[in-house]
Amino acid sequence: MNENLFSSFITPVMMGLPIVIVIVMFPSIMFPSPNRLINNRLISIQQWLVQLTSKQMLVIHNQKGQTWALMLMSLILFIGSTNLLGLLPHSFTPTTQLSLNLGMAIPLWAGTVITGFRYKTKASLAHFLPQGTPLPLIPMLIIIETISLFIQPMALAVRLTANITAGHLLIHLIGGATLALMNISAPTAMVTFMILILLTILEFAVALIQAYVFTLLVSLYLHDNT
């Protein structure tokens, strides 16, 4: 039962070929690139959504932080589209892989920290010591702040992995429970089915929200450091 439950999270390999490359690149097909002066409706709608999101997200940044606009927009598109496509039955969701999320979180977080160190060394080091701390507490507080800084990329990666994985697992479990209950008592199966529908709606929201949260936090770390 354990093996069966987690089998959808194994990196897909078909006859020895790692098709995970194709699966990770698949969501980019959903975003055709604009080639003409007046594009079709799909491209126009996507372009409008990207403009809306970028205006919302970049308003807190100064000139230096706004150079990250392309990175943040492609990040939110990648995570959002990957999460939404993972809600299809029998599909593999790359963002359930801790490797992928760590590979996203660590370079982006390190980029913001190194940017802060290069351009505002004193100010970024000053983040380690909040204002007005009593003198004996300073060494302990610096240790705590360092730990909280280094835990940021881990938290980013694990948050995304755990949320999406937990959602998929719940859908598997409750779907299996509905199927098993259908032969035993139909009304209970109906109740379980209602729970499944509500959960699926929640998962749609979670898919988008997790993308947003990831990108927002990266943008916050950027804001602290530019």
């Binding site: 990196t11 995970v20 490359i21 790359p94 996203m104």
Partner: protein, 66 residues
């Protein structure tokens, strides 16, 4: 937990880096954000009155019979 099997980590991270940093950014960089074209202020010239359309010798100030 199959996510902790590190043998597949390198290929996953590599494909993610290609997708996120290459493919998606190439696509999003092709989006154009329309600039708001503002009309340039053109000074509207005064319409020429009929007697100003033609310059005649009479109006040379140094040639006026005074």
């Amino acid at each position: 937990m199959p996510q902790l099997d590190t043998s597949t980590w390198s290929i996953t991270i590599l494909s993610m880096i290609i997708t996120l940093f290459l493919v998606f950014q190439l696509k999003v960089s092709k989006y154009y954000f329309p600039e708001d074209p503002k009309p340039a202020l053109v000074a509207t010239p005064k319409p020429a009155t009929p007697w100003e359309k033609k310059w005649t010798k009479i109006y040379f100030p140094l040639l006026l019979p005074l």
